[in-house]
């Protein structure tokens, strides 16, 4: 069963002559363990796709289902619960709450879900440890470097039993080595069975995905085919 399934999603902003379609009839399925990159220039609708998949916005038409649940049939409270339990979200910036420590930021969804503070902290520390941030657990965001902050954000997005990881330019403000580290983490998370969707305009980031989907003017125009093994690459290059 697909973790994320979008069918016929259209999102229209504004009305009448001023109406703009950010997305038009978009279909997308993401399977468990799969990392999908959505590539497109600015204004192509890729971020809207992500906010709709993350229940932060409702499509004008079409149906979204996450883990088999049709979002249109869920109340706002149930959608919030879904975000707390199943969906992890990584933004480009404005990721962390400045008023909470790294560990508190990570355990935030669990705490919001009613997990006891102690258990939530334990889970948060574990997630931080996996990302190599155990020593920074009680630091506040302003005491962390950009790369560390992004890693904390990813830790929050994967804490608990996540099934869907959504990332919007997750390494946007980072240098390429730090960006690569972030993508490695996302990749590793997906290998654990989580479905991942990364939105980016950066081909190097997108190339971490199993499947790259190209989006233009709100439409999916193309996607990469199933990958060959890396050996073929060496042969191609070796022949030069």
């Amino acid at each position: 069963m697909s973790v994320l399934e979008l069918s016929g999603i259209t999102k229209r902003y504004g009305i009448g002559a001023a109406a703009v379609d950010a997305l038009r009839e978009v279909d997308l399925r993401v399977e468990p363990g799969e990392l999908v990159a959505i590539m497109g220039p600015s204004g192509s609708g890729k971020s809207t796709l992500l906010t709709i998949a993350g229940t932060l916005e409702e499509p004008t038409s079409g149906e979204v289902s996450v883990g088999g649940l049709e979002l249109s049939k869920l109340s706002r409270a149930e959608q919030a619960q879904l975000r707390r339990r199943a969906i992890g979200y990584v933004f480009q910036d404005f990721n962390l709450l400045a008023g909470l420590t790294a560990a508190e930021n990570v355990s935030l969804p669990l705490e919001l879900d009613g997990t006891s503070a102690k258990a939530a902290r334990a889970a948060g520390l574990e997630a931080l440890e996996r990302l190599g941030l155990a020593g920074r657990a009680d630091h506040f965001p302003d005491q962390l470097s950009g790369g560390e902050r992004q890693r904390v954000a990813i830790a929050r997005a994967v804490v608990g039993e996540r099934r869907l990881l959504l990332a919007d330019e997750p390494s946007g403000a980072l240098d390429s080595v730090n960006g690569e580290a972030v993508m490695r983490l996302v990749r590793a998370t997906c290998q654990g069975g989580v479905a991942g969707v990364v939105v980016t305009h950066d081909a190097q980031l997108a190339s971490w995905a199993d499947r790259v989907i190209f989006i233009r003017d709100g439409r999916i125009v193309d996607q990469t085919s199933a990958p060959d093994g890396p050996e073929s690459l060496l042969e191609v290059d070796g022949a030069r």
């Binding site: 975000r83 707390r84 400045a98 008023g99 909470l100 919001l112 302003d142 005491q143």
Partner: protein
């Protein structure tokens, strides 16, 4: 940049308007709150009261011969059916040389001629008369022609006839101007007896100085308030501005460019805020005038505002706004542009230094207030100032403290409190402003409660305003307390008798009816002691036949007794009523009383009975009111002196102060049955009203300030809201966030405000701290618990989900 912030600018403008308006109204109040003594003296500086002057006018003539210009006010009384308290009837010249400030025509016209009378509103309702109706007084029928009042003492209740139209004056007040205060004291009227003498000369300048002092204080505190709110508002903008300004600086704007833009903005907001605030304040003051008149008990001139202070407040609002808006520009020129651009929250500064300074300054203020002894102006002003500033400096520490306490709280509350602690500049200023609003309200209310309490515990007051006594005796000449008069048959000696059971039963029925009508909370039957074996000689004056207490005195070698009080009798129900366990009464006591220092007391069994020394026990739990059962004869004394307890009256208590309508109804029922009621004679609800008003206004201002600052603070964390939402926060969590922010600020404001009020008042009353022994609990609860509760609920209601959470806030 400035256009984008219009919402924030509007909130800041509103904050300034509120601060300036509140200060203006506050100034109006302090100038007019002081009760002037013109209601008693008029324009004169000396008043001589003479009782039983007769009708010859000899006393007035003698006074004129001695002092020159003297104005006379003749007085007698009108009995009120069913009440022990009569109404005062005056003959006074409304245009008199001295007395004119004591009279004002409200409606109708002034009495002229022999058969006209004007009454105050109070008297109108007590006697149930209105313009056009008639009343019996002074041995004739008078027609009510108008409504009058004493504009300088609205509690003064009287009926007015034209000068010289009183046939049988029982007392005479002389108003005069005299250079020497002592000269008046030595005046001895040829006919009447000198009942009292008083002079304004001592209190006048002191009163004016007090008023100036109060104006200065309110002005000072109001100005701090204005400044704080401006700073609080603009500090919130500063962080956002820091980033925009960094950007402007990065593209090459000079510091001067930046500063000029911000100064212009600050000046515009300040100017509009000051103007609107002053206008709003003056308008509010004008419309509050009539209400306020009733609270302070005298008519006020709405134009009697201390204009210099009002203008100073407006100017300060302008200046503070300019300075506060310029601050970020200064910060940008000090902070490296890169840091400004990053817009990263700067880590909180350590607050311990602040806190230490705060404690030191507050302590200094305390000491200055103690040392001022109420009369060193410089000490008072600097003391109040230091106390206020000291408490305000503690605000950031309190914010930090509450954030630390929240470590174990649910995440939304924790986040709200952490944010407060992180953005101390704004939350500190918000708390400081709230503290000030609460502090002023708390000071007034605590002070009013203390004054009210002092009033109760002192000699003043026959009964509290929620009690009445129905006396069995129908004789209105007994002005308070029990009285049983036996009609003496001419020429025959007789023995007093207990009240006939039929009369008692009928009175009881009336009491029950009144209890039901006023929704009595509880009641108790009062008994008095009487010696049924005494003999009253023929021809004795009608008087009080109950046993009484007297104090032996000796004067010029002759021994005699001085009447002290007519005691009631200790019964089980009286003890229960006052929750006094019978075991606490000493078995050997004859008299139990709440009045300490009675000295040696004898029991007088009756007007023609014997005197015997009594053993007195002071029981503090007994009431202190003069007409309440404050002094009681024990059953032991009854047995010892051969006395009999007979029904004398009933004490009825309600939960709320009795209303005028209830009193009028009770009076009518009593009058119909030939018995009387006694109720509180001195109006005491003005202090109560003052307490309620100041608490309400303080809470409202604090709430307004909080609402606006919370709005500002939360608007700055819109980005957090997006992150929270993505992490799965429901609308509930977001509401909790706003509610917790508001609630926490309110708690801090309430606690700090009340604490600073107590600090200042303890210092002020250092010589007698017990003056503050009776805190106004309901009002304090309203400030410390009610305010946060309302703020929390308000935050909950206002913190509803923004429609577009997924969109990033415009930057």
């Amino acid at each position: 940049m400035l256009r984008r912030e219009w919402r924030q600018q509007l909130v800041i403008l509103a904050l300034l308007v509120v601060a300036v308006a509140a200060t203006t109204v506050g100034l109006g109040m302090v100038v007019n709150v002081e009760h002037s003594d013109k209601g008693y003296f008029g324009k004169a500086n000396t008043r001589i009261d003479i009782s039983n002057p007769g009708t010859t006018g000899a006393d007035l003539a003698a006074a004129r011969a001695r002092f020159g210009a003297v104005e006379a006010i003749e007085e007698s009384s009108i009995p009120v059916p069913g009440s022990v308290t009569p109404v005062e009837l005056r003959a006074q010249d409304p245009h008199g040389r001295f007395g004119s400030p004591m009279l004002r025509l409200v409606s109708g016209h002034l009495p002229a001629g022999a058969d006209q009378v004007a009454v105050t509103a109070e008297v109108g309702s007590v006697l149930a008369v209105r313009t056009g109706s008639t009343l019996q007084a002074d041995g004739r029928t008078l027609t009510v022609v108008g409504r009058v009042e004493n504009p300088n003492d609205l509690t003064d209740a009287f009926a007015l006839v034209a000068p010289g139209e009183l046939r049988a004056p029982t007392s005479l007040a002389l108003l005069l101007d005299t250079g020497s205060a002592l000269a008046g004291a030595r005046f001895s009227p040829p006919v009447g007896t000198l009942a009292g003498f008083s002079s304004t000369s001592a209190s006048g300048p002191a009163q004016r100085r007090n008023q100036a002092l109060a104006v200065l204080l309110i002005a000072t505190i109001g100005l701090i308030f204005i400044g704080l709110l401006a700073v609080a508002g603009f500090t919130v903008l500063a962080q956002r501005r820091l980033r925009s300004l960094g950007m402007i600086a990065a593209i090459g704007a000079s510091d001067r460019h930046v500063r000029r833009v911000l100064l212009a903005n600050g000046a515009a907001v300040g100017l509009v805020g000051a103007a609107l605030g002053t206008a709003l304040g003056v308008l509010t003051w004008f419309s509050l005038g009539p209400v306020f008149s009733n609270v302070v008990g005298h008519r006020i001139d709405p134009f009697s505002l201390p204009w210099w202070a009002v203008i100073a407040g407006a100017v300060l609002a302008l200046i503070t706004a300019v300075i506060a808006s310029w601050w970020p520009a200064r910060a940008v020129s000090r902070v490296p542009i890169v840091v400004a651009l990053s817009g990263r929250p700067t880590p909180p500064q350590p607050v311990h230094r602040f806190a230490f300074v705060g404690v030191a300054v507050a302590a200094l203020g305390f000491v200055l207030l103690v040392l001022s002894h109420h009369d060193n102006t410089a000490y008072i002003i600097s003391g109040i100032l230091a106390t206020t500033i000291g408490m305000l400096l503690l605000a950031p520490l309190a914010v930090r403290l509450i954030a630390r306490l929240a470590r174990r709280a649910p995440v939304a509350i924790r986040l709200a409190l952490r944010d407060l602690a992180r953005y101390q500049a704004r939350s500190g200023a918000a708390v400081a402003a709230g503290t000030l609003a609460v502090g002023i309200a708390a000071t007034i209310t605590i002070h009013a409660a203390a004054a009210q309490h002092a009033d109760h515990s002192g000699a003043v007051g026959n009964l509290p305003s929620n009690q009445m006594v129905v006396w069995l005796d129908g004789n209105p000449s007994n002005q308070g307390g029990p009285g049983l008069s036996v009609a003496t048959a001419a020429g025959a000696s007789t023995a007093p008798s207990a009240p006939p059971p039929a009369a008692v039963a009928s009175a009881r029925r009336v009491v029950d009816a009144i209890s039901t009508a006023v929704q009595a909370h509880r009641s108790v039957e009062l008994e008095a002691a009487i010696d049924l074996n005494q003999t009253i000689p023929a021809g004795a004056e009608q008087g009080n036949d109950y046993s009484s207490l007297a104090r032996p005195i000796s004067s010029q070698g002759r021994k005699g007794f001085e009447f002290v009080t007519t005691p009631l009798v200790v019964t089980g129900s009286v003890l229960t009523f006052y929750r006094i366990p019978a075991s606490t009464l000493s078995p050997g006591a004859d008299v139990v009383t709440s009045r300490a220092g009675l000295g040696r007391i004898d029991v007088n069994t009756g007007p023609f009975g014997d005197f015997a020394a009594a053993k007195v026990q002071v029981v503090a739990a007994l009431p202190k009111y003069t007409s309440a059962p404050n002094t009681l004869l024990t059953q032991r004394a009854l047995a010892e002196f051969g006395l009999t307890a007979v029904p004398a009256g009933w004490l009825i208590e309600t939960l709320h102060p009795l209303t005028k309508a209830q009193l009028a109804d009770a009076r009518a029922r009593a009058a119909a049955a030939g018995i009387t009621i006694e109720t509180r004679s001195a109006p005491d609800d003005t202090m109560q009203q003052l307490r309620e008003y100041s608490t309400t206004i303080g809470v409202l201002i604090a709430l307004g300030v909080l609402a606006m600052t919370v709005g500002l603070i939360r608007s700055e964390t819109a980005g957090d809201l997006r992150t929270l939402t993505a992490a799965g926060a429901s609308g509930r969590t977001r509401r909790t966030l706003t509610a917790a922010t508001a609630g926490a600020l309110a708690v801090l404001s309430g606690v700090l405000g009340t604490a600073s009020a107590y600090l200042a008042l303890i210092a002020w009353n250092w010589h007698d701290v017990s003056y503050l022994d009776s805190p106004p609990y309901p009002e304090l609860v309203a400030l410390v618990i009610g305010l946060p509760a309302v703020a929390f609920v308000g935050g909950w209601v206002a913190g509803r989900t923004p429609r577009k959470i997924a969109r990033r806030p415009l930057d």
